[in-house]
Subunit: 102 residues, 2 copies
DNA sequence: TTGTATTTTGACATAATTTGTCAAATTTAT
DNA sequence: ATAAATTTGACAAATTATGTCAAAATACAA
């Protein structure tokens, strides 16, 4: 269960590309991509979409990793992290079930 | 499964207190408390702790509601919200299991 | 080693978001 | 009708996010 950063780094290293190249495609400085890969910065949604396109992987897979990264980040130093995630899950189920209604 | 705002409002209305009073205790303008209760603003962790103290309810209960509110907010307009929450849950389990290790 | 490409780090600037105040408008209850 | 409570939105200040840049560190060849 890799974090998004790990995933991106593996994708890039498999193609033996330097940070410079991928960063140029994203139109950001390579320093930022370096930090993203090591989890020190959070990429934007748009950047994740671009990366999926660039590496030809399923956009949704990368977006799930990106979103869950953010979720983990949000709760990680709280004791009731798990509980909160479970409650959130219930609420999301409820919300999507009632989508479209009044 | 109420949101944090709903919970706070109910607690306040049960005691028949005006926004003014509770807001003064939190040391913020009543306008903000009004927005917090209706979910238009997110309270800080410290404010939630103070509210638990003020209304004499379990701090953790309120904090779980607060955290899950933030989680729902983060994913709510994404298609893969549920998936992301589930992945985050796995990751949090993994992290807490290995807490203390190298 | 020495040199060269890559990556990492941190200081800094700027942009975006948060967090709050305030006063006016609206609603609720007398 | 009026008085209290609540809501709204414009605004300001503070905080956080996002990026650039150059120097330092690391990896890799020769």
């Amino acid at each position: 269960m890799d974090s998004l950063g790990d995933t991106i780094r593996k994708l890039r290293e498999n193609k033996e590309l330097p940070l410079r190249t991928v960063a140029a495609f994203l139109d950001i400085d390579q320093a930022i991509l370096s930090k993203i890969e090591r989890g020190q910065r959070k990429p934007s949604r748009e950047q994740v979409v671009k990366l999926a396109e660039y590496f030809k992987v399923k956009e949704n897979d990368l977006l799930v990793a990106w979103l869950s990264d953010k979720l983990v980040y949000e709760v990680e130093d709280e004791d009731m992290a798990l509980k909160a995630l479970q409650v959130a899950e219930e609420r999301v189920k409820y919300i999507t079930k009632n989508k479209g209604k009044k």
